[in-house]
Symmetry: D2
Subunit: 291 residues, 4 copies
């Protein structure tokens, strides 16, 4: 065919399949959100509307891609996790990461006006996100990744809460506040908040302190029954046929996607929701139970 | 710091910098646009509003990322080209490709209502795009890539125009039309169009036959003066300092981004616009000339 | 410095570090050994001298690189396994694989004359090896890899033993033998060997039927004590400091490297030698026990 | 077949094909040659026997792999260059680099005794080499790579010559010599050599000052006839069929591989030997001309 003369250029495309039977984390980050949060006057240190919009976009992505196991968001970043058994797009890295980024961006732009009713988006200043995929070889390391993000959330939020208290309530300039906090540890910041501003950090909203975790909801299990099974979790991953994959996707679509602001570092979260690490859908929550 | 216990997970991130001094093409594709074009009732074989929206989104990306040299779009795909001297994001593949995809998606969703005024987007059926980056080691191969896409545009459009004439005007079913066209060459299809439907394919809109090319406009040059320089074009690429890069970006932002539907296979297009392959901005078009 | 003008070429070197905390298998293969075995008149179906030379070279590699956990050889291939905790050469793939290949080649050439005393090597027909590195994310999959190679050894050896019996003892041509065996299953081949040639395959040498496994010898453990620990094996891998790595290397150098021809598919091999999967040296065998 | 249960482990092998139409450089380095040169008492600053052995091994590699265009060696390193049109092993990186390393190692060990007649190799201290592959997108950059290595050769040799003169003839300790040379430029070192030791660096052997370049010899061409063609050199690379590749290999095997110690930074070397950059064999040198 006439086209063949140029078609050789396809040979420059290189394979980018991710290692089988590993956890795939696609982490996306807001591009230039520091500037963007000024442009659209986000509240400091946390803008609840912006976080709710991030979560709404993440839920849309989870619904769009039933292969996703769980997602965790903080500030303008969100981590989406595919299970080791995931075969979506033959695990091609670029395909997975761009699909997540595009789906997230589309949902974010689409729902902007619901969360920021008075503030129209400006075509020259659209919120956008970049992303990357990283693989982790075991459930233990995946959990360490999730813990890393949640610890980071805590550290940054405590800093930001104190910083903006000093600026907005204490009348300090940004530079003065920066200086004041340099070298302080957590307990110092708690002290500043409490002594100077009467703020008990423990009473801050959970969404600020813990970030947001999105996952499919099934009936919670008794932790004692799953504790000893946990280590086996990853040992029976087998490559699934296309039919099996499609069947699993259908099952997963039936589950509601929920967003919670809870501890994901300790074992309990994972033991009560064994389907996240096992990749096997649990028992659907009946409507009655839902209420 | 408390975080260090988990921070080791960063060591799993692997470098994905693209080979220096090569052309980077980020090609994006609509996800499931076959189904989507039914959902939003796109016209067959070409929906001018959909193509204009693709072009509007591409222009927004070109303005967002002044490092881009040129872009070429056909149907629901668009190829964005970074020059070999591009240092954006240290040439990290995931960063480049997700930024293009997110910027495109955001602009597409944002401008949807301008091009499809009566048709609201449905949150469960949002248009999204995936993408990938491929590098090409020389200007000659980059041009072969561009030619490949434009030849593909021609082949597909001739097929689609004939197919939909048979279906919409000829009353054939899709399967009958498919059969009718199986084994035909270009001249056969031209003949069918002309004899049965009185359509002269040459008179079809250029945007359908040639696709769309977006680039920054400077004063066109005399082809004879650039012809012999062409081969040298890539020979003086040197790594640019950050300051030089920023300066180049500013210069490029001053140029208007235009969209044309012209031949990019022959030399003339490239000889009259030497800045595309050289990476050096040309002379700005004055306003007078623009009119 | 004068050199800096050209030094930019270093920027074209791309990182090739292998994913942390995964098993690294470097498999090497003889280049053109079919032809080479004719050149040096290897015996069919198995040349014991050639296999012993492969094993001698593998032992030299194990001694050269104490980071290696285990190796498995069959015919002209050998698989060398690095533990997930291995940090050698920052886990750079090319460095690991070339070091193994070069060390193996050097030892093979060097010891040739000990195993083939009458046959001088010809400079134009030197035995050489190529290799590649593959990573596996868990001990379970690593064991499946090892089982794959040992099953392959069995299948190929049964075929070769029968094929060469038909040719050398049965007087068939290669093509006739090929035909005779086409479509046969294992029991058919056992039958042919026994009925026609009075060969009981079970009595063939273990080195031919099972291949060769090389590892560091410590005091064997009671399987019952390690059985339930096995799954935990990989859960406590932590990045080791350079000092710890050097200390481990010293410990490992003290252990003798042994070569055995035993089953590595069943659990028992691994349970009695827990140091292979755990990466922690066992108790040294005293000289008395060695005798 | 019985094997299929384990065969899934093959899916963990990842593609490592190098970008088409780029220059491939495989650079190999002696492993721990500092220690090794003590072990086998290499002469300082240069051991002619060791360099001649490196060159003999390189010639063996060039003969073993007719796809190689040129090679350049200095000290215990050697760079082997494959042409952009090379399709050997489908351009798989690990395969190319391990084949070069193994072929080099085998030839080095095999020929050791010819160059070091009195000194037997010790199995526990075998010379081995590691290697890596890097691709360069144009002939210009490939030449910059070669220039980089030759400039490095000069800089290191001037340093080493002066350093060892100070130690061996000047009676300084290593540390004193190091100190003496710290901060000196080339002219200082030339001065030290001449004033203190009566050594005119220009009279040092070319092999020490320029390193060694190995390539296939054809009839030299008139530089003036190739000068203006040079830039086009890479523009007509097309993927060659297997038959064409095999034919080219046969042609190349007919050419003698020569080793020279000449400048490869200036244009002349390349203009007189256009076959190196073009990849097209030149006219064979007749035996008469050879004499």
């Amino acid at each position: 065919m006439a086209n063949s003369k140029y078609e050789y250029v396809r040979s420059f495309e290189q394979s980018d399949s991710l290692l089988p039977e590993t956890w795939i984390v696609v982490r996306i980050d807001g591009r230039g959100f520091h500037k963007l949060s000024d442009q659209y006057e986000f509240e400091k240190p946390n803008d609840r509307r912006a976080l709710d919009l991030m979560n709404a976009a993440a839920v849309a992505v989870m619904k769009d891609l039933p292969d996703l196991s769980i997602a965790y968001g903080v500030s303008d970043e969100y981590s989406f996790v595919f299970h080791p058994s995931c075969q979506l797009f033959e695990r091609r890295s670029a395909k997975l990461v761009t699909t997540v980024v595009s789906s997230f961006t589309a949902a974010y732009i689409m729902q902007w006006s619901s969360f920021f009713p008075g503030k129209a988006l400006d075509l020259a200043h659209l919120p956008t996100f970049d992303g990357r995929a990283v693989v982790y070889p075991s459930a233990r390391i995946l959990r360490d990744y999730m813990s890393w993000r949640q610890v980071d959330c805590h550290i940054n939020n405590l800093f930001n809460t104190t910083f903006w208290a000093l600026v907005l309530k204490g009348g300090l300039t940004n530079i003065e506040a920066e200086k004041e906090l340099s070298g302080t540890v957590s307990s110092d910041k708690n002290e500043i908040l409490f002594r100077r501003f009467g703020i008990n950090y423990n009473n801050e909203a959970e969404i600020f302190k813990k970030g947001s975790v999105a996952y499919r909801q099934y009936q919670l299990e008794d932790p004692s029954s799953t504790a000893e099974k946990e280590l086996e979790i990853q040992t029976n991953v087998k490559e699934l046929s296309r039919t099996q994959q499609e069947k699993l996707r259908k099952l997963r679509r039936k589950a509601a996607v929920v967003v919670e602001h809870v501890d994901i570092i300790k074992d309990e979260f994972w033991q009560r929701r064994p389907w996240i690490l096992s990749g096997k859908p649990g028992k659907l929550v009946t409507e009655e139970e839902n209420n």
